[in-house]
Amino acid sequence: MTASSDASSVAPRSGPSAPVGPPPRRSGRPYGEWLLAAGLLLPNLVLLVIFTYRPLVDNFRLSFTDWNIAAPVAHYIGFENYKTWWHDPNSHEVLRNTLIFTVCAVGISMVLGLALAILLDQKLRGRNLVRSAIFAPFVISGAAVGIAFQFVFDPNFGMLRDLFHRIGIQVPDFYQRPGWALVMVTTTYVWKNLGYTFVIYLAALQGRRADLDEAAEIDGASAWRRFHKVLLPQLRPTTFFLSITVLLNSVQVFDIINVETRGGPQGYGTTTLVYQVYRETFVNSKAGYGATIATIMFVILLIITVIQVRVMDRGMHRD
């Protein structure tokens, strides 16, 4: 806090001929500056250590215990939780849900985001309005979007039911059928988060080297070739960045699932790893087991990120 109070006391001292303070004393003893730097960094570091790194380690420790969240003590039980998780058929369903949801969410939002960015990079009237519209849902809370879409998908009185009914199609029961419930959750996620990939791709398109494109056009390359051979390689860093951030973001989705399906229907219909952590820890009170699943999730994410970085590195060197 020293920074802000000190700074504000400095602020009012303006005026062209304000007496200059002591001459710069940059050589000699830097300890004053070290102390100040420590003061500036310490609050943030302490918070991150206590509330990010400590629980990360503690979570790992808890994963080897039978801790019940309501109980004061926990007993060391070795790899028991990991074995339980591995042999639990629900876990397989959860893994499958997580995989399907993540692959669809990442894939659809990246492909659609790029397509829309290319579309709205063209000179079209009214494109600014549509650009804003695509981005807008990204700022709305996941809980609000989830609840809104629960009603949009309502199999009896929802918007989709009415639209499809008008063209003679009966919508499936998005509430009761696990596969369709997962479609509902994924659609909601993509609708809310499409604006992010769209905006990032659009910025990349606007910042790229148009001369390459023009050269290719003059050379008579087809639209597809220009897209495939000129545009995509230029966008590779952006695609890489998005693949990591959208993956991390989609794996962590909690709010939409919590308001739309609570992980159901039929038990684990839309439960992903994150939601399984929540259910085991806070609904079933099995916090040790929840910590185990959280650890497994963290390790999976770490491995995937490392692979992504590797693949990307190789892609860069190939050029």
Partner: protein, 300 residues
Amino acid sequence: MTDTAAVTGFDSDEKPTGAHNAEAASFGGTGMKIAGYVGMVLVFLVVAGPLFWIVVTSVKERPDIYTQPAQWWPAHPTSDGYHSATTAIPFWDYFRNSVIITAILSIAKIVLGVMSAYALSLMRFPGRNLLFVVIIAALMVPNQITVISNYALVSQLGWRNTYQGIIIPLAGVAFGTFLMRNQFLSVPGEIIEAARLDGAGPLKLLWRVVLPMSWPTLIAFSIITVVNEWNEYLWPFLMSDDSRSGTLPIGLTHLQNNDGITNWGPVMAATVLAMLPVLIVFLALQRHMIKGLTAGAVKG
């Protein structure tokens, strides 16, 4: 590294003669143009349709909601939904909690982010790079992995259902530190040297020279922070049982638990009320937000 034409946001229509005129090499002629407009209209409908649908529902009378075929325009417009939404749950208590928590948390994060970024960019001390890595690596740790242990800690402190129980564990800043550090490093070295020669100490340098040159990035960082904290869900959800400290998304969840599916009117009304503030902020400030989001994503 981020200072490119890429981060101009949605304004490029207005300044077609900009330095980097990277206007799209178009992918076709008139036929494509028509297809482009058709695509634009479709996309707009897909985004706006659900929003229109919930707004219309929020002003319908209950029987008009539970009818087939659906009404796309309210036959008997009413504000009953809004009335029961704000009385079925202590809506304004949740709203107040959201405002207070978002305000305090955002200010804390912005101040901490600027402080850390300044120390990590323009001050010299041993271990600087290591500390930078320690702060940035926190980005790789998902909230969901830290909640179990943090929940136990905060419960022991007796901080459940309190503001500090929600605010303090969320106050550490990794992304903002990264964003602001990049910004501070882009301030030209000569300007900083000149200020130092004029006798400006580190804090004066920050307040009088570096920050004034960094407004656009600081504003972008601030808006993103405010929107993120306003929408924060998991941690406030675990920390709050009721309207003592619950934020708007939590209140919305409670309302939906009571009335969802059986009484959509008030639920949609509350959803509209929860969406409005952030959408208004968005419409006013979207350009700054986009700048912050794209900074760091696009290589310059």
